[in-house]
C-alpha cells in the first residue's frame, strides 16, 4: 500500500507539471497563431477599429513690417459640422443652432435633413466662445474641429501688398500668395487609439510626423510710412476727384520698398465683400502711358549712346511733323533754343522727339529695354505686368517720336520708379523687393533677394550724374516746383498723359493720368518716390502732374525724410 501511495505521490507533481506544460504549449501555439501566423490580419483589423489619425495643424507664419509690427497672424477658430444621420430632430436642432449662430433656420434645417450625406458644414471658422455655446447644447451628430483663421490687425493697411488667404488657408494674393510655400508650413500627424465611444485612450499617441510651422516673413515696408502714404494718397485722390492712384517709395540703392499704397483699397478681413477692381495692386499691375515722365529716359539714352553731348543746345520749333503726325508743345508757340536740361525743365515734347531722333530705332529700343520697360522688374509680388512695349521692328514711322515723350508705350509705376532708381544708383538698375527676411525657429532662410540676379549696368555713372543734376533743376526751375521741400534739394519729373480710347484709336480729350516721380535729398538720394493719379477731374481746373501729383509727392517725401531722420545734405543747406 505504502509503495503504491508513494508512487502516486511521485506521479502527481509530474502530472501537474505535464498539464501545465501542455497548457503552456496550447497557449504558445495559440499565441504564435495570433502573434505570428495571422498577426498582420489582426493588426490591420485592430488598426482600422481602434486607430485614428489626427492632423496636427502647422501654424501659418506671421507677416511683420520691417520694425516687427504684426500685419498678419493666424488665430485658432472652430468649425462646426454635422453628421445628419445622427441628427434626430432637424427642425429643433436648426432652431437651437440658429439662435446662437444667427443663421437662417430653413437653410440649417435643410443641411441637417440629408441623412445620406454623412458630412455637412454648419459654419466655418467661428470664435471658440461661440462654438462652445453650441457644443454645450450636447446635440447628437453635431461636432467641432479646430481650424486656423487669418486675421489682419491693421484692416486695410498695405492690403495689396500683404494679400489674403482663402478658407483653406492658402494664399490668394500678395505676399500671402507669393510666399505660400514658406508661410504655410507642413501639417504633422499623430495616430492615437480610441475606445468604444471614440475617446482617445491616454498614452497611446504615436507621432508620425511633427508639424512644421510656417516661416515668419518680415517685409521691407514701414508701418508708419505706409499709413501716412495711404492716407495722403486717399486724400489726394478724393480731392482731385480721381478714379484711382498709387504711390511707391523705394530706396534707390538697395531696391527696398518702404511703402506701396494703392487707392481704392479694401479691408483685408472682409476682402470678399470688396469690389474686384479695388483688389488690384496698381503699383505693379497698372499699365499706363507715362507721358512726359519718360523724357528723362530718352535724354539718358541719347547722352549715354554718345548721340549727343549733355551740353548740346537744340533749336526747337513749336511743332514738329514725324511720320505724318504733328507733335506740338502745349504752351510754347515760338521757336526756342533749349539745352538737354532745358528740354527736361520745360518738359518739351518737340525737344524729346529731337533727342530720340539722334539715335537709331535699335539703339533707342535697346536702351528702353535695358531700363526695364517691356519686362518684369522681378519684384517678389504676384501679378506683375510687363507693360506694352513693341519691338523696334514693329514700330511705325511716328513710334520713336511718340515714345520719346511717353506715348505709344505702356509701363507700370514700378518699372518707372526702377528706371529713376537706375539713374540714382549710378546707372545700375536695382532689383526692387518687398521681403526683407524669412525666419523660422532655426533662424533665417535664404530666399530670392539674397540669391538675386546681379544688378545690371544700364548707363554710365557720368550720364547718370548728369541726368540727376538736370532732374534737380526740373524741381528748382521747371515744372516740378510744387514738389520742393524746404531745406532739401529735390529732383524729379512731372508727367501728364492723355488716356488712349479703349478699343479705338486716338486719345480722350480731358481725361488724363498725372504723375510725379522724384527723389531726395539732393546729390546723394536716400529715397525715390512715384505718385500716379488716374483720371483726376478737371473741376478744379489744374489737371497736371505738377498740380495734382507733385504736392502729394512733396507731403509724402517730407514726412518720410523727417520720420527716417534723413538730414539734408550740406549741399542742400548751402542752397
Amino acid at each position: 500500500m505504502g509503495i503504491i501511495r508513494r508512487a502516486k505521490d511521485e506521479f502527481r507533481p509530474i502530472c501537474i507539471f505535464l498539464v501545465i506544460i501542455l497548457f503552456f504549449l496550447i497557449l504558445s501555439y495559440r499565441l504564435i497563431n495570433l502573434q505570428v501566423l495571422d498577426a498582420q490580419e489582426y493588426v490591420d483589423s485592430a488598426t482600422n477599429q481602434h486607430d485614428r489619425d489626427y492632423n496636427l495643424f502647422a501654424q501659418r507664419g506671421k507677416i511683420y513690417d520691417k520694425n516687427g509690427k504684426e500685419l498678419a497672424l493666424s488665430l485658432h477658430q472652430v468649425t462646426l459640422f454635422a453628421n445628419p444621420y445622427f441628427v434626430k430632430d432637424p427642425l429643433n436642432y436648426a432652431i437651437k443652432l440658429s439662435e446662437i449662430l444667427n443663421m437662417d433656420v430653413e437653410s440649417l434645417k435643410e443641411k441637417l435633413s440629408r441623412p445620406n450625406s454623412g458630412f455637412e458644414y454648419i459654419t466655418r471658422k467661428i470664435s471658440p466662445e461661440l462654438a462652445n455655446r453650441v457644443m454645450e447644447l450636447n446635440l447628437d451628430g453635431i461636432y467641432s474641429a479646430r481650424e486656423d483663421k487669418r486675421f489682419y490687425p491693421k484692416d486695410s493697411q498695405a492690403c495689396h501688398l500683404i494679400g489674403f488667404v482663402g478658407l483653406d488657408n492658402k494664399g490668394l494674393a500678395g505676399v500671402e500668395l507669393e510666399y505660400e510655400k514658406q508661410l504655410h508650413g507642413v501639417d504633422g500627424k499623430i495616430i492615437a487609439k480610441q475606445d468604444g465611444l471614440g475617446r482617445i485612450v491616454p498614452g497611446t499617441y504615436t507621432l508620425k510626423s511633427d508639424p512644421e510651422d510656417g516661416y515668419d516673413i518680415h517685409l521691407t515696408i514701414d508701418e508708419n510710412i505706409q499709413f501716412y502714404t495711404e492716407s495722403r494718397l486717399k486724400k489726394g485722390v478724393q480731392e482731385a476727384g480721381a478714379k484711382r492712384g498709387t504711390i511707391i517709395i523705394m530706396q534707390p540703392k538697395t531696391g527696398e520698398i518702404l511703402a506701396m499704397a494703392n487707392y481704392p483699397d479694401f479691408d483685408l478681413n472682409g476682402f470678399n465683400l470688396s469690389n474686384s477692381d479695388s483688389l488690384k495692386n496698381l503699383a505693379i499691375s497698372y499699365n499706363f502711358e507715362p507721358g512726359s515722365i519718360l523724357k528723362f529716359v530718352t535724354a539718358s539714352s541719347a547722352i549715354d549712346s554718345g548721340s549727343i553731348s549733355k551740353e548740346m543746345v537744340f533749336h526747337l520749333p513749336p511743332t514738329i511733323k514725324v511720320g505724318g503726325r504733328v507733335i506740338s508743345e502745349p504752351f510754347r508757340h515760338v521757336a526756342k533754343d533749349y539745352s538737354v536740361a532745358d528740354i527736361l525743365i520745360n518738359s518739351a515734347n518737340v525737344g524729346a522727339v529731337i533727342l530720340a531722333q539722334q539715335m537709331s530705332n535699335e539703339v533707342y529700343y535697346n536702351y528702353l529695354y535695358k531700363f526695364g520697360f517691356g519686362q518684369s522688374t522681378g519684384i517678389d509680388l504676384p501679378g506683375e505686368e510687363i507693360g506694352v512695349f513693341n519691338h523696334y521692328t514693329q514700330w511705325s514711322g511716328s513710334s520713336k517720336a511718340t515714345i520719346s515723350f511717353g506715348q505709344g508705350i505702356s509701363v507700370t509705376p514700378i518699372q518707372l520708379l526702377r528706371a529713376l532708381c537706375t539713374i540714382l544708383n549710378d546707372g545700375v538698375a536695382p532689383n526692387p523687393y518687398i521681403v526683407k527676411r524669412i525666419c523660422g525657429k532655426n533662424g533665417d532662410i535664404d530666399y530670392f533677394p539674397k540669391l538675386k540676379i546681379a544688378e545690371k549696368r544700364v548707363i554710365s555713372s557720368e550720364t547718370a550724374e548728369a541726368i540727376k543734376s538736370m532732374l534737380i533743376r526740373v524741381v528748382e526751375e521747371g515744372t516740378g516746383k510744387n514738389a520742393k521741400i524746404e531745406g532739401y534739394k529735390v529732383g524729379g519729373k512731372t508727367g501728364t498723359a492723355q488716356k488712349p480710347i479703349e478699343g479705338g484709336r486716338g486719345y480722350h480729350s480731358g481725361i488724363s493720368i498725372t504723375s510725379f516721380m522724384g527723389f531726395a535729398p539732393g546729390d546723394d538720394p536716400a529715397l525715390a518716390c512715384i505718385v500716379m493719379i488716374d483720371e483726376p477731374s478737371a473741376a478744379n481746373g489744374h489737371v497736371w502732374g505738377s498740380t495734382v501729383a507733385a504736392p502729394i509727392f512733396k507731403d509724402v517725401m517730407s514726412f518720410t525724410l523727417e520720420y527716417l531722420r534723413i538730414p539734408p545734405l550740406t549741399t542742400d543747406i548751402e542752397q
Binding site: 504684426e70 497672424l73 488665430l75 485658432h76 491693421k154 486695410s156 493697411q157 491616454p202 501716412y228
Partner: protein, 167 residues
Amino acid sequence: MVIGTRAEILLRKRSKRKTKSYLVKQERVKTERSIISLTFFVTSIVLIGLLSFSIILLNFQVAQNQLIINEIREEINYQSEIKERLNFRIAQLQSPQRIYEEAVINLGMSNPDEINYINIDTYQLVEQQKSLDEDQDTQVGSSGYESFFNSEFKEDVYKTILTLLFP
C-alpha cells in the same frame, strides 16, 4: 529459528534497524523537499502576482501621468491661444489708423499742417490800439450818434412805432 553465527545474527539485526531508520530518513527528506517545492511554487506565484500587480500599477500610473500631461498640454494650448489673441488685440490697438482716429476724433488733436499759426507783433498791436483810442476820443460826438442809430435799439424803436401806428 535463527540460522548462522551470533555475529551474523547481530549484523542482520543491525542492518534491519539501519534500513528502518534509512526509510524514515528518506521519508523526512521527501517531505522536506515537497515543502521546499511548495514554498518555491507559492513564492513564485506570489512574486509573479506582485510583478503583474506592479506592472498594472505602473501602467495605471503612466496613464494617469499621461492624462496630467494631456491636461497640461491643453492648458498650454489654451494659454497660447489667449496669448495670440492678446497679441492680435495689441496689434489692433497699435494700428496707426486707430491711433490717428482716436487722436483726431476723441482727443480733438489735429495734423500740424492743418493748423495755421499767426505771428503777432504785440508792440505794434498796442500802438495801433492806442492810435484807435485817440481817434475815437476826437470823434466822440459823431461816433456816439452813429452808434446809437446803428444799434439794435434802433430796430426796437422802429418796431414800437410801427406797432403803435398799426396795432
